[in-house]
Symmetry: C2
Subunit: 293 residues, 2 copies
Amino acid sequence: MRCGIDVGGTTVKIGFIDNYKIVDSYSIPTVKDTLFDDVFKSIKEYCLKNSINLEAIGMGIPGNVRNNIIVKMPNIKLENVDLNNISKKYFPNITIKASNDANCAALGETLVDKDKVKSSYFITLGTGVGGGYVYDGKVVDGVNAACGEVGHMFIDHIHNFKCGCGLTGCLETVTSATGIVRLAKHYYKEFNTTIPSDMTAKDVFDKAKEKDPLGVFVLEMVSEYLARALSNIATVVDVECFYIGGGVSKCGNILTDCIKKYYDKYAFYAVKNTEIKLAKLGNDAGMIGAAYL
Amino acid sequence: MRCGIDVGGTTVKIGFIDNYKIVDSYSIPTVKDTLFDDVFKSIKEYCLKNSINLEAIGMGIPGNVRNNIIVKMPNIKLENVDLNNISKKYFPNITIKASNDANCAALGETLVDKDKVKSSYFITLGTGVGGGYVYDGKVVDGVNAACGEVGHMFIDHIHNFKCGCGLTGCLETVTSATGIVRLAKHYYKEFNTTIPSDMTAKDVFDKAKEKDPLGVFVLEMVSEYLARALSNIATVVDVECFYIGGGVSKCGNILTDCIKKYYDKYAFYAVKNTEIKLAKLGNDAGMIGAAYL
C-alpha cells in the first residue's frame, strides 16, 4: 500500500492507494505551525489501526519543491521545509518524496491512462494556470522547481492584460477561470448583452453550450490561446499527449474539441497527432500521483 | 575510445573521442546509396590500422531519429534506416546510438560545460532554427522525434512571415540566417539606406557592431524574438542553461548580451537566472555529443 498526500490551503487530503486506485482517503485541516507533524502522525495512527504496511509516501505541494525539500509554499506561508527531517520520527524507513501539486496531478493522470503513456504535459485551468511535465514515467521538477509554469508563457499580444506575476500577456490572463471571466467582461458590450457581476467561468461556458454568441466567442478565444500554447509546448518537449484539467475543464469535451480544432491549425506538422485529452481523475489526481513519485 | 559521427548532406565527419576531446577526425563524402556501409567500413579500417578498441559509436543525423532508427533524412532522401542492421557486419558487439544532429550538439555542449550542467536547451541558428533538449545528462528525442523543433514555435505576430513548414510567424522566420536577412530587407527603406542583394546575416550583425542603425535595429528585433522564445521554453522545461549555437552565433557576445537584456524583461521570475551562453564547440559539438549518446 502507498500513501499519497495532497496539501491544500485549508485541508490536507490523505489517500491510501493500491494499484493506482484510492482504497481509502480522508482529510485533516491545514494548520500552518504543525502541518507536517499533523500529517505524519495521522498517517501513522491510521496505519497502526488498520494494520497497513506502507511501502511509499509522497506529497503534492502547492508551491516549489526541489529534491523533496519545500522551497516555498506562498499560500500557506511556509518555506525551506525538509520533509524527511520531520517524517523520520514517524517513518524512519521511508524516504518521503514530494513535488509540486500540478506535477503530481500530471503523474496521476499519466499513470492511470489506459494508453500506457510515458511522456505527457498536463495543464490545469483553475484560479491560475499551472502545469506538469512527465517524462519517461517520472515527474520533471526543473532546476528552479518551475517546470510546468506554462501559465506564464507569453501568448496574448492582443489584450496584453497584466498578470499577477508582473508580466503581461501570460496564458493565465486569458485561460484561467479568472481570465475567462475577464474576457467575457471585456467583450460583452460588443454583443449587446449584459452579464451578472458575479459571473463565473462555468457560466460563460454554459452559455457557450447554449450557443449564446458571447459564450461561443469567449470559448473560441480561450481555446485558440490554449492551442497556441500546446503547439509551442509540443515543439519544446514533443510528448505523447496533453491533459487538460482543473475546475475549468469540468465543462467537458466542448473545450477539448475546440482546442483540437485550433491545435490542428497551429501545430507543427511533426507533432500534429499529439492527443489532447480531458483529465479524468479530478481531485484524486494529486493523491494518486504523489503516491508514485 | 569512442567514435562520434556527424552526418551532413555533402560530407560525413567522423571523430575519435576520448574524455570529451576529439583525438582525431576526418571526413568522407556522403554517398546516398552506400552511406552507412561507407561509414562503418571506414571506421573499422581506421580502428584496425590504429589498433583502436572502440567502446561506443554514436551518430548525429540531419533528420528524425527514434530508438536509433532513422525515420527520415529529408535532405539526403533516405528513410526507415535501421543503423544496427547495417553496423552488425562491422561491429557485432556495439549497439549504434543515433539522434538528431541538433540534439547531439546540445549534448556535446552540455558535456563539455565546466559548470557540470545536467539539463539544458540548445538553439542552433543556421539556415533554419533547430534545437535540442538535454535532461539529466541525456538527449530527449520526443515521441515524434520532434523534440527541439522550437524553430516552429509561434513567436512573431507582427510580420507573420510564411515559414517553410507551412505555418506563419515561426521563430525560424525571423531568427534564422535567412530570417535575419528577411528582416533587413523588410526594414531598410525606413532607415533611408540601401543593402546589397547578396547580403548575409553576418553582414547585418557586422553592421550592428559598427552601430549602423539598421544593423542595430535588426539585432534588437532578433534578440527580442529569441528572448521571448527562451522565456517560453523556460516555463515548459526549466533547464539550467541555454546554449546559442549555429552559424549566426559566430557574431559572438553582441547577440547573447542583447538576448539577455530582453530575457531579463520577459522571463517569469522563477526562471530569470537561467544562463544564456554562446555554444563553444562549433562544428565539433555534433561529433562529441554523438559519441556519448
